[in-house]
């Protein structure tokens, strides 16, 4: 009987009702996640430290510390939420204390972390007051100096995917406290421009790894739901990123660890020099699109700008369910 346990825990993470998400994008995809994904069994508050010590245990008998410190006690004597429950205070009748006890956004930490982190939002610290494995200090959001904390580089993607999850499951119309710095009062996109840009960057730079997948499975076994952005990382780009117009499907291009490429300097841009190479690719366009230039089918995915000469040129593409056009200038 015990032999089937690994199978059970693995299949638990894979039973996500992914069919409900297929073919959707943008606001509809985010809403679909809210509809199908919800914690089923919450861990009692008093049991959180012990539960998290098991979930986040490492092979040396310690714990995986997302708020490491060279000088701290490094004992898992406290817990902290990535996003403070206080931000949802006025929505307690809707969400109860789920936000404080949702394991996906709760981590074990040393005793000093909650006091340092307070109710600050995740962000990019510019001037730090604490810099010891992770940072606390001032960041800049919409031109304002705001207290934020920055997780260690190796966990920034984990934090981003956790916030994607929270923004999808718990959007509200009124944010308290510092929540207004990263969230908007709307069902979509919920993330604001600052957090969208920063979190998608973290999500790309720190992709899902085995530690995060194991954590997702462990939580599913206890709480009854998974973080879909860990199971299917490409979802984020189809909700908030360049693919927000393109229906998401669990295809080889969207399964974990096979995310679409990020924007690079080879993507299409408005102007070229004659000596440049034009690459017919863009994060806004499916990779299998067919292209034409000035009404003539493109000879290939890349060509010297000199082949089409100086002037204004119209590029068009078609792919399944989507078409588009763009004018570029070659000088």
């Amino acid at each position: 009987m015990l032999a089937i346990l690994p199978f059970l825990t693995a299949s638990a993470a894979n039973d996500y009702p992914v069919a409900m998400l297929h073919g959707k994008c943008g606001a509809q995809l985010k809403e679909a996640i809210r509809t199908v994904d919800r914690p089923v069994t919450l861990t009692p508050a008093a049991g959180l430290p012990d539960t998290l010590r098991i979930i986040d245990s490492d092979s040396n008998g310690g714990f995986i510390d997302r708020f490491p410190s060279a000088s701290g006690d490094n004992q898992a004597t406290a817990t902290t939420n990535i996003l403070p429950p206080e931000w949802w205070t006025d929505t307690t009748p809707v969400y109860g204390d789920t936000i404080a006890r949702d394991l996906h956004q709760t981590f074990p930490c040393s005793a000093d972390v909650p006091g340092l982190k307070q109710d600050y939002p995740p962000g990019l610290v510019i001037t730090s007051t604490h810099d010891d494995g992770w940072q606390v200090g001032y960041g800049e959001i919409a031109g304002e100096r705001v207290w934020v904390y920055t997780p260690p580089a190796e966990y920034r993607g984990d934090f981003a995917r956790c916030i994607f999850y929270m923004a999808s499951l718990y959007p509200v119309k009124f944010w308290n406290g510092l929540g207004i710095n990263i969230f908007g009062d709307n069902d979509y996109p919920t993330l604001n421009r600052y957090s969208t840009s920063l979190l998608l960057k973290w999500h790309t730079e720190d992709p899902v790894d085995d530690v995060e997948r194991k954590r997702n499975r462990e939580i599913h076994a206890r709480q009854g739901n998974s973080n879909p952005f860990v199971l299917y990382p490409a979802l984020a780009d189809h909700i908030w990123g360049t693919k927000a117009q393109l229906p998401w499907d669990e295809s080889p291009s969207t399964v974990p660890d096979m995310d679409p490429p990020a924007v690079t300097d080879t993507d299409l841009r408005p102007t070229y020099q004659l000596t440049d190479i034009i690459c017919l690719r863009s994060p806004y366009v499916p990779a299998d699109a067919s292209w034409s230039i000035d009404g003539v089918p493109a000879p290939g995915p890349r060509m010297p700008a000199s082949d089409i000469g100086t002037g204004i040129h119209e590029l068009r593409f078609t792919a399944t369910g989507i078409s588009g056009k763009l004018k570029i200038t070659v000088r």
Binding site: L8, R193, Q245, P270
Partner: protein, 152 residues
């Protein structure tokens, strides 16, 4: 052994409960698309006819203007969405609907302009064909948005 059995029981219970949740309601009481009405965006001070006569592909709001003919503006269209992106970094607008666009008033729509959702009072598809779509939109604070995609 006792611990493992308890763990297994917990896992099975969680899976069973998860199955229940997924077939049941998880409604949080949050309304969809609040504020959008079928109020006619045209009033005595505004005539959409000149907009229909203009074949330019464009997005014009109070905060942002993206004209395809200016160059560098990627315009993409699906059955239920339109996107204007200035590849030079000058702006990004995504207009999307929960259902394919149809002529007349629509309520299940969102507009995200430069990352910011715009509250909508009224959304009307004034013209729709396989190659054209003209949208007449009024925001909650009575600002007009014109979005037109032609020859696509």
């Amino acid at each position: 052994m006792k611990f493992m059995n308890a763990y297994l029981l917990t896992a099975i219970t969680a899976i069973a409960l998860a199955g229940c949740s997924k077939s049941g309601s998880t409604d949080t009481g949050l309304p969809d698309n609040p504020g959008i009405t079928t109020t006619d965006p045209n009033d005595s001070d505004f005539d959409f006819a000149p907009e229909l006569a203009d074949p330019a592909t464009r997005y014009v709001s109070e905060e942002l203007t993206l004209r395809y003919d200016s160059g560098g503006i990627m315009v993409t269209r699906t059955a239920s969405s339109i996107r204007f992106v200035d590849l030079g970094g000058g702006g990004d607008v995504l207009i999307s609907s929960g259902t394919p666009f149809q002529t007349g008033f629509m309520t299940n729509v969102t507009i995200v302009e430069n990352g910011k959702p715009l509250p909508i009072k009224s959304f009307k598809t004034e013209r729709l064909s396989t190659t054209q779509i003209y949208l007449n939109i009024l925001t909650a604070d009575n600002r007009r948005i014109i979005a037109a995609v032609t020859d696509l």
